[in-house]
């Protein structure tokens, strides 16, 4: 086996990170996407732009600000220290927060377009059939938005797998804790260990292709407009 114990740990860590981040993104991204799809508030524009930022921003910029915010001198870090909590940088929890922010558009945007495509009518029909707003959301909106939800899960997961700059900034390179696959790959190349580098790079290439094939094949094209 070309891959060492550290590499295997990195694979598991990466999968765990992507799963956790995707789950959290679905939980918080769904109401956000619903709000973006329905609101007529002036905040819609600014919030939409904020959500889309990670698409264009260099990941290191996002990582830098997170490090400053969460570090001991930053507003969040200082508060956490005052409360007797551990600091987030260089921990798995810190990586999760960074990943959630980093992958937000890849989850929120497909959900938002799916919700927008449904329109008002099915909700109105359900309302006249005695369904309360929450009831309508779970029994009409979510089932009708299923292709969009599937795209959101796949894209969010795959995008988190590939993050590098943010991780390096806020997570560092601690084996088993914050050393994800992309960082492991970087280490191997630095050390001129091309054989394991090929395995990791090739594996991620194949996996990403397979995942995107799922989205494009199943959902008739991605629901996300980038």
């Amino acid at each position: 086996m070309v891959l060492g114990a550290h590499d295997v740990a990195a694979i598991w860590l990466t999968l765990r990170l992507a799963t956790t981040a995707t789950a959290l993104l679905l939980l918080f991204g769904t109401p956000l996407a619903w709000w973006l799809a329905r609101t007529r508030s002036w905040l819609r524009g600014p919030v939409g732009a904020l959500v889309a930022l990670p698409i264009v921003l260099p990941p290191t910029v996002l990582g830098f600000y997170l490090l400053v915010m969460l570090g001991p001198a930053g507003p969040v870090g200082a508060t956490m220290r005052a409360l007797g909590l551990d600091l987030l940088p260089f921990t798995f929890a810190g990586l999760v927060i960074a990943s959630v922010l980093y992958s937000i558009p890849f989850v929120v945007q497909p959900l938002q377009s799916a919700f927008e495509a449904i329109g008002d009518r099915p909700m109105e029909a359900a309302a006249t059939l005695r369904a309360s707003p929450l009831d309508r959301f779970f029994t009409v909106v979510l089932p009708l938005a299923r292709p969009g939800i599937l795209s959101a899960i796949i894209l969010g997961f795959a995008h988190t797998l590939g993050e590098f700059g943010v991780v390096l900034m806020i997570g560092g390179n601690i084996p088993g804790q914050t050393k994800v696959l992309s960082v492991a790959l970087y280490d191997h190349v630095e050390a001129l260990e091309y054989a394991p580098a090929h395995w990791i790079a090739g594996g991620m290439l194949l996996f990403s292709f397979a995942v995107l094939l799922l989205v494009y094949g199943w959902g008739r094209g991605p629901r996300v407009e980038l």
Partner: protein, 356 residues
């Protein structure tokens, strides 16, 4: 107060809806008007899908909206069914599950409409296991009507339910709507811009234009007066199987009509379109026209273009003839003159006949 009260004001880009109407708690009330006249907006306000900034909506003893008391009951708590212009069935559910969607959300104590009976009433039993996307326009609309009925509504709101139905299938849906009216005794508010539908179905008509009510009352008083024709109530006196003609009697005489299969004794409503009525100075002989009614001219009014509307009194029943101004002058028509109105039997078919 019994029945439906809608007193609403709602500014829109194209018009301001401004109505104050009491509608009976029985029969079919038609909201009639051109598109953009506010009839759908009014219906949506009654359902609670739209909220007028000022107004009152109440049905029987329930107040659904009263802005002065800041009351607004959301649509899912109003006991009214709604049939949309496009059936708006849920594409992710089968026909049966669509029907059950509303039914299972009605509290047991308020359930009055049985599943089997409703399915039978609308003739959709063979469709239950089907997916909604495979249904024809007419089938969809029947499922949508059944779905609304299964919420056991006290009031049924229908927004142009025939608009997305194939011309050849309209009659079939009309037949089912008549069954609702006659068998379920469910009050219905029916939005339409098609005169034929209104004449056939409505007990009462509210005519809307630019968000305001321009006429309200019986079909005879509203549609007949303002929309190019007269509406006569008549009883089927005889059916001649050989000729395929039905003989209808009304206060002004008798009418022969083609292809109306209602039983003898049934009261019908016949719409005489003004342009289907012509005028003769003497009793016509040797003409193919079967219906010749003697009457007296009560009014001659100029219409746009080169035509005039001649209003006749046929023994108490108003009949309107639209003829060219040229003909009116040639015949020397004047108010008070005794003339004959001629109506071809074939111009009075099933589409111009409704049950009163």
């Amino acid at each position: 107060m019994s029945g439906l009260l809608a007193r609403l004001r709602l500014p829109r880009k194209e018009f301001t809806l401004d109505v104050d109407q009491q509608m009976p708690g029985q029969g079919i009330t038609a909201l009639f008007g051109a598109s953009g006249s506010g009839k759908t907006t009014l219906l949506r306000c009654i359902a609670g899908l739209e909220r007028a900034s000022q107004g009152v909506v109440s049905f029987d003893d329930e107040r659904w909206q009263d802005e002065s008391a800041r009351i607004f009951v959301p649509p899912h708590r109003r006991a009214c069914g709604y049939v949309f212009q496009e059936a708006s069935l849920f594409p992710h559910l089968s026909v049966r599950r669509n029907l059950e969607y509303g039914e299972k959300r009605v509290p047991a104590g308020q359930k009055r409409q049985a599943f089997e009976q409703t399915v039978e009433l609308l003739g959709i039993a063979p469709l239950l296991a089907r997916r909604t996307e495979n249904l024809s326009g007419g089938e969809r609309q029947r499922v949508a009507i059944a779905r609304a009925l299964l919420t056991s509504p006290r009031l049924l709101l229908m927004d142009e339910p025939l608009a997305s139905v194939d011309v050849n299938r309209k009659g079939e849906i009309l037949y089912y709507i008549e069954r609702l009216r006659d068998e379920l005794r469910l009050p219905i508010v029916y939005v339409s811009h098609a005169i034929d539908e209104v004449v056939r179905l409505a007990n009462r008509v509210i005519v809307l234009a630019n968000g305001r009510v321009t006429a309200a009352g019986s079909v005879q008083d509203t549609i007949g007066r303002d929309h190019g024709g007269a509406v006569i109530e008549a009883t089927v006196a005889a059916q001649d199987l050989k000729t395929g003609l039905a003989r209808l009697s009304f206060t002004g005489g008798e009418l022969l009509v083609a292809d109306v299969d209602s039983p003898v004794g049934k009261t019908l409503r016949v719409r005489l379109r003004a342009r289907d009525v012509s005028i003769a100075l003497e009793q016509p002989r040797n003409v193919s026209v079967l219906n010749c009614l003697a009457g007296r001219i009560v009014q001659i009014s100029a219409e746009p273009g080169s035509s005039v509307d001649v209003r006749l009194d046929v023994s108490g029943t108003p009949v309107i003839a639209r003829i060219t101004r040229h003909s009116a002058e040639r015949l020397g028509l004047t108010v008070g003159k005794e003339v004959w109105a001629m109506v071809k039997a074939v111009s009075l078919d099933r589409h111009s006949v409704g049950y009163a």
